[in-house]
C-alpha cells in the first residue's frame, strides 16, 4: 500500500516495544503516536508487540 506509515505486521517484538516506549516517553518524536502510546501500560505494549509479531 502507498503509505508514509511503516508496516509493522510481523516486526520483531523488541522493536515494537522500544518504539512504543519511546513514543510514550517523548524520546521518539511523532505527530500522533505519543498521544496514543501514553494510553498503554508496559504489559499492554508487550501484548501488542507479541500479537503483531505473530501476524504475517
Amino acid at each position: 500500500m502507498d503509505t508514509p506509515v511503516p508496516a509493522i505486521r510481523g516486526r520483531n517484538p523488541q522493536d515494537i516495544v522500544a518504539a512504543m516506549q519511546g513514543f510514550r516517553s517523548g524520546e521518539r518524536p511523532s505527530t500522533v503516536m505519543g498521544r496514543i502510546a501514553k494510553g498503554f501500560s508496559d504489559d499492554e505494549i508487550r501484548a501488542i508487540a507479541d500479537w503483531l509479531a505473530a501476524q504475517h
Partner: protein, 419 residues
C-alpha cells in the same frame, strides 16, 4: 494489504488474546445490519475469528460511499469515485452479503425480516446502521428541503449536490453552513468542511464569503481550526457561536434563508447539517432509548435494552468515544471478538480502544485529535493522560505530515474494511 501501525492500533487487546478452539454449538449464525465502517469491519472480523460462523451482512446499497474525505469532494479536490467501496472482498471471504433493507427485527425469535419478505435467523445480531436525520426538528428542514439546502452528511448524491451548487455559485456569493448541537456524526466534520469550502472560495471565488452558524459555543479541535482560519482565510470565513446568536431556529428552502433569534441569512449555497439519531433499524429493533441513540455494554457492545443484539459505530452511545469511522472500526473489532467469545461460552476480555480523527484545514495542512478509551463504571471513558490534539504551535512540516497521514489513514482503513 499491509497492516500499518495505525491499522493495528484500532484492534483490541481482546482480539489479540482470544484463542480459537472449536465451537461447541456448531455453525452459529451472526447477522450484521449495515455495511459501513462498523458493520463491514465486524462481519469480516467475525468470519476471520471463526470460519465456521455463518456471517450475513445486510446492506441496502450495492456499494458504500465513505464520509471521511468527502469534504474534499465537496471542495472539488477529489472525485466521488475515490469514496466508493464494494463488498466483493467480503463475499470472497465467505460472508453472505445480502443487498436489502432490514424491515423488522424480532428480538425474541431472533429473526430479521428483509425488504423482500424473507427472514434471516441469528444467534447474535449486530446493528451498525449509522445515523438517520431528525427531519422536522429544525422547522422548515425536511427531506425535500435537503434538495435545496443539502446536508451532505451521508456521503453520495448529497455530497455531489453540495459540490455542484458551490461550483455553480458566482464569485461574490454567500455560503452558509448550519452546524448542529451535540451529539452528531464526526464532531470536527463541520469545521473541516468550512475550512475546505473556504479553501475552494479563496482559490476559485475569492470575493465570496462563508458563514458558519453554530448551535454550540465549543467544538472539536476548536483552537487549531480557529488559528488556521485566521492564518489562511481571514475575512472570508466567519464563525458565529451559539452565544453570538449562531443557533439556526428555522429555514426557508424556497429562498435558501436560515433564521436565527437575531438575524436571517439569505444564502447562495446553504449546507444544513441536521440533528441526528441512530439509524432506523436500531429504533425498530428496540435498541434505541429516548435520546434516539443506543445504550451499550462497553465490553461487548451488547445493547442494554435488547439481549442478543449488539450495536456498534455511530448509532451506539459510546461514552467518550466520538462518532467517527476510526471509532466504528475499533468498536467493530472489539464487538466481533466479544461475540465470538460469547458464542464459545467464553468470557469477553475488557477492551482498550483508540480513536484518531484527522481534519484538513487546507490540502497540505492537517490537524488531529486522538484518544484512548477503556470501560469504567459501565461507560467508555478516556484513559487519563493519553490522547489530545495536535500542538497549537507546530511548524508547517508537521501540518503537512498530518495531511499525508490523513490520506494514508483513509487508504489503510478502507483497505482493511472493504479491500
Amino acid at each position: 494489504m499491509q497492516t500499518t501501525r495505525r491499522a493495528f492500533l484500532g484492534s483490541s487487546i481482546a482480539a489479540a488474546l482470544f484463542p480459537a478452539p472449536a465451537l461447541a454449538q456448531g455453525r452459529a449464525r451472526v447477522v450484521v445490519v449495515g455495511g459501513g465502517f462498523a458493520g463491514a469491519t465486524c462481519a469480516r472480523e467475525l468470519q476471520r475469528a471463526e470460519p465456521r460462523f455463518a456471517v450475513t451482512l445486510i446492506e441496502a446499497g450495492p456499494t458504500y460511499t465513505a464520509c471521511p474525505f468527502s469534504n474534499s469532494v465537496i471542495a472539488g479536490l477529489r472525485p466521488i469515485t475515490a469514496q466508493r467501496f464494494a463488498y466483493d472482498a467480503l463475499r470472497g471471504e465467505g460472508i453472505t452479503v445480502q443487498q436489502d433493507q432490514a424491515k423488522a427485527v424480532d428480538p425474541l425469535r431472533r429473526l430479521v425480516t428483509l425488504g423482500d419478505g424473507s427472514t434471516v435467523g441469528y444467534e447474535r445480531l449486530v446493528l451498525a446502521p449509522g445515523i438517520d436525520f431528525r427531519w422536522g426538528a429544525l422547522p422548515g428542514y425536511d427531506e425535500a428541503a435537503a434538495q435545496a439546502m443539502p446536508h451532505a452528511w451521508k456521503a453520495g448524491d448529497q455530497t455531489l449536490l453540495l459540490r455542484d451548487q458551490l461550483d455553480a455559485m458566482p464569485d461574490g456569493g454567500r455560503v452558509v453552513i448550519s452546524a448542529p448541537a451535540n451529539p452528531f456524526r464526526c464532531p470536527p466534520g463541520p469545521y473541516e468542511r468550512a475550512s475546505l469550502i473556504a479553501y475552494y472560495l479563496k482559490t476559485k471565488k475569492p470575493r465570496s464569503k462563508l458563514i458558519v452558524l453554530d448551535a454550540k459555543d465549543n467544538f472539536s479541535k476548536q483552537r487549531l481550526f480557529q488559528a488556521a482560519w485566521q492564518q489562511l482565510y481571514p475575512g472570508l470565513l466567519e464563525w458565529v457561536s451559539l452565544s453570538n446568536g449562531g443557533k439556526v431556529t428555522s429555514v426557508d428552502p424556497s429562498t435558501r434563508t436560515l433564521v436565527t433569534d437575531f438575524a436571517s441569512y439569505k444564502a447562495d449555497v446553504a449546507n444544513v447539517i441536521p440533528q441526528q439519531k441512530a439509524g432506523h433499524v436500531a429504533e425498530i429493533a428496540g435498541a434505541a432509548d429516548q435520546t434516539g441513540w443506543c445504550p451499550i455494554d462497553p465490553v461487548t457492545f451488547e445493547s442494554r435494552l435488547q439481549p442478543g443484539i449488539h450495536v456498534v459505530g455511530d448509532a451506539a452511545i459510546a461514552g467518550a468515544m466520538p462518532k467517527s469511522a476510526f471509532a466504528a472500526n475499533a468498536q467493530a473489532k472489539v464487538c466481533a471478538a466479544a461475540v465470538a467469545a460469547l458464542l464459545r461460552d467464553e468470557p469477553p476480555s475488557p477492551p482498550k480502544l483508540i480513536n484518531t480523527c484527522y481534519s484538513l484545514v487546507a490540502p497540505d495542512y492537517g490537524i488531529s485529535i486522538a484518544g484512548v478509551y477503556h470501560p469504567v463504571g459501565g461507560q467508555l471513558a478516556d484513559v487519563e493522560g493519553a490522547g489530545g490534539v495536535s500542538p497549537l504551535d507546530a511548524p508547517p512540516d508537521f501540518r503537512a505530515h498530518e495531511a499525508n497521514y490523513a490520506a494514508a489513514w483513509f487508504r489503510t482503513i478502507t483497505a482493511e474494511t472493504f479491500g
